[in-house]
Amino acid sequence: MKEVVLDCLGEACPIPLVKAENAIKDLSAGDVLIVQIDHSCAMKNVPEWARKEGHNVEIEEVDDGEWEVIIEKA
């Protein structure tokens, strides 16, 4: 089981979403992708996309205005 961290801090929408879409292609089921974001709209569109794809998603607020979207590939 692999764990990949995707640093999208300082990146505005929709870049975190497109980067997450690209990154998850290289992973296999059960692997975990951690997307680090500090743009609040990415907190909405990244989990929305991942849930629609059927992955397991969790959002963690790690600091003021900073989140980690944890996606477990299904």
Partner: protein, 192 residues
Amino acid sequence: MPFLLLLKKIKEVISLDIKNNKYYKLWFKDPITYVMGAVLLSIFQIVTFAVTGNPWGVTGSLANWGAWILELFGGSVDSWSYFSTKSAQATLKSGFLNDPGSIRNLGVIFGALFSTLMASQFKIKKIKSKKQVIAAILGGFLMGYGARLAYGCNIGAFYSGISSLSLSGWVFGIALFIGAFLGSKLLVKYFM
């Protein structure tokens, strides 16, 4: 001892775990839904129309801010054709505090600051690359210049245009869609 019990109760109330408070979450922490946002925008644009007599706009006032800043440094926009109309001259003369659009824009800026502070999500984002700086300046210039050429931005020309049943709003919308399509292609090409 009742006194100690009372003290305990007071302590409980003071140390109220605000982070997990239901009403704090509802009003300040969790973002409102898109539908709720749309409803609120609709209500407030009606209010703004009723109160100021003009539909909601954003960037027109920003052009006035530019003119006022230039005047602060001794410049003058009186000979510019954009500011040559009577109403534009009147707005410039009556000043910042008498321009409803300017006050509303301040409200947008401070309202956004207030809500991000209340949610404790305020963060000064670091600049990641030179590309971001160039894209921001270039994008800002194109949007500002384009909005003045079109006599409106996505609010004044698009949103307010369509909500006042004007065909121009739909024309602007088509151009907006084409621009957004090309913009996202450029974004993927240069930022991925």
